[in-house]
């Protein structure tokens, strides 16, 4: 029974994959040439790098929701009922090497994050990548025993987690005064995007770190 199912699933998946593969081999030219339009409008976007332009301007709304998704994932993890009392806080392993490394690396990582954030405007990079570096710093600190796990984030931490999204929304709302949602006025686009990216970097760093730090805690039990 089980093997039959396996075979069936593999067969069906394979068949579908083959069909799909066969089908995409022969495709006409796309009717809409979006890169062309994009290039035409890139000047208006406030950034030079097309991907960042798409991410934060042309399809900035996607990104707004994407940040919400990320926050939501964290929220979902936070909302999981946990037996707080059972948690045995792992004593910080005072690994001096690791601690030293962390002390050296973390400022460096902050710097790198800042750079990636800034670079995003004209080359690959941006808030998410920067935030990931920040999160890495957080994880490192935790591993080095310098940062406790986030059992129940306090209000300040929650505000920090949410600030990126809130700033994003605030900008979006503010922009509606003179146009539609997230319609950057020409000339202001760059600055506003940078502001959003900065706050996003901060919050994303916290969120991504949080995904680890909240989960990290319960490992003590296992």
């Amino acid at each position: 029974m089980k093997t039959l199912l396996n075979v069936a699933v593999l067969f069906l998946a394979g068949a579908f994959g083959l069909a799909l593969g066969w089908a995409i081999l022969d495709l006409p030219v796309a009717a809409v040439n979006l890169p062309e339009q994009l290039t035409a409008q890139l000047d208006m976007s406030g950034v030079v790098h097309p991907v960042t332009a798409v991410l934060l301007n042309f399809r900035g709304y996607d990104t707004l929701l994407e940040i919400a998704v990320l926050l939501l994932a964290l929220l979902g993890i936070l909302a999981l009922p946990r037996h707080v009392s059972d948690h045995q806080h792992r004593p910080f392993t005072a690994n001096p090497v690791l601690q030293t490394l962390a002390r050296v690396l973390v400022p460096l990582m902050l710097l790198v994050a800042g750079y990636i954030l800034w670079a995003g405007a004209h080359r690959p990079g941006g808030a998410f990548q920067a935030g990931a570096v920040l999160a890495g710093a957080g994880v490192l600190l935790h591993l080095a025993g310098l940062l406790p796990a986030w059992v129940t984030p306090g209000r300040t931490l929650r505000a920090g987690l949410a600030v990126g999204l809130l700033v994003f929304i605030a900008v979006a709302v503010a922009l509606m005064a003179q146009g539609t949602l997230l319609q950057y006025p020409p000339g202001w686009a760059g600055a506003l995007i940078l502001m959003i990216e900065a706050s996003l970097t901060f919050s994303l760093g916290l969120i991504l770190a949080g995904l680890y730090l909240i989960l990290a805690d319960s490992r003590a039990q296992a």
């Binding site: 699933v9 994009l38 399809r59 996607d62 994932a73 993890i77």
Partner: protein
């Protein structure tokens, strides 16, 4: 056939593999990994197909970036749930895929 299409075909294969894994692998961690493989396949298809004319297209790249973030979020939540399940039942599997008998009550 150009290189872009190879990406797309690889993506297709990855997607199919991911789906099969998601369906068949009993261990939740493998399932989550399979989901990520599936996601990678999709992203490959997305980027590959879009630039089959030869020119890179930043729009799907941006979309893939968004997709990756979303996938990360989903993976994180899935991992958390899997952990929770592990804590509660001692196995990181769905009840019907436990090594033992069918323990799910309807």
């Amino acid at each position: 056939m150009n290189a872009a299409l190879v990406y797309a075909l690889t993506g297709t294969a990855l997607f199919v593999l991911g789906v099969a894994g998601l369906i068949l692998q009993p261990h939740l961690l493998r399932k989550i990994l399979a989901f990520n493989i599936m996601g990678s396949g999709i992203f490959l298809v997305m980027v590959g197909l879009a630039q089959r004319a030869g020119t890179p297209d930043p729009v799907p790249q941006a979309m893939v970036l968004t997709g990756i973030v979303v996938a990360i979020a989903a993976t994180a939540l899935a991992l958390a749930l899997a952990r929770q399940l592990l804590d509660m039942s001692g196995e990181m599997r769905l009840p019907e895929e436990k090594s033992g008998k069918d323990r799910l009550d309807v």
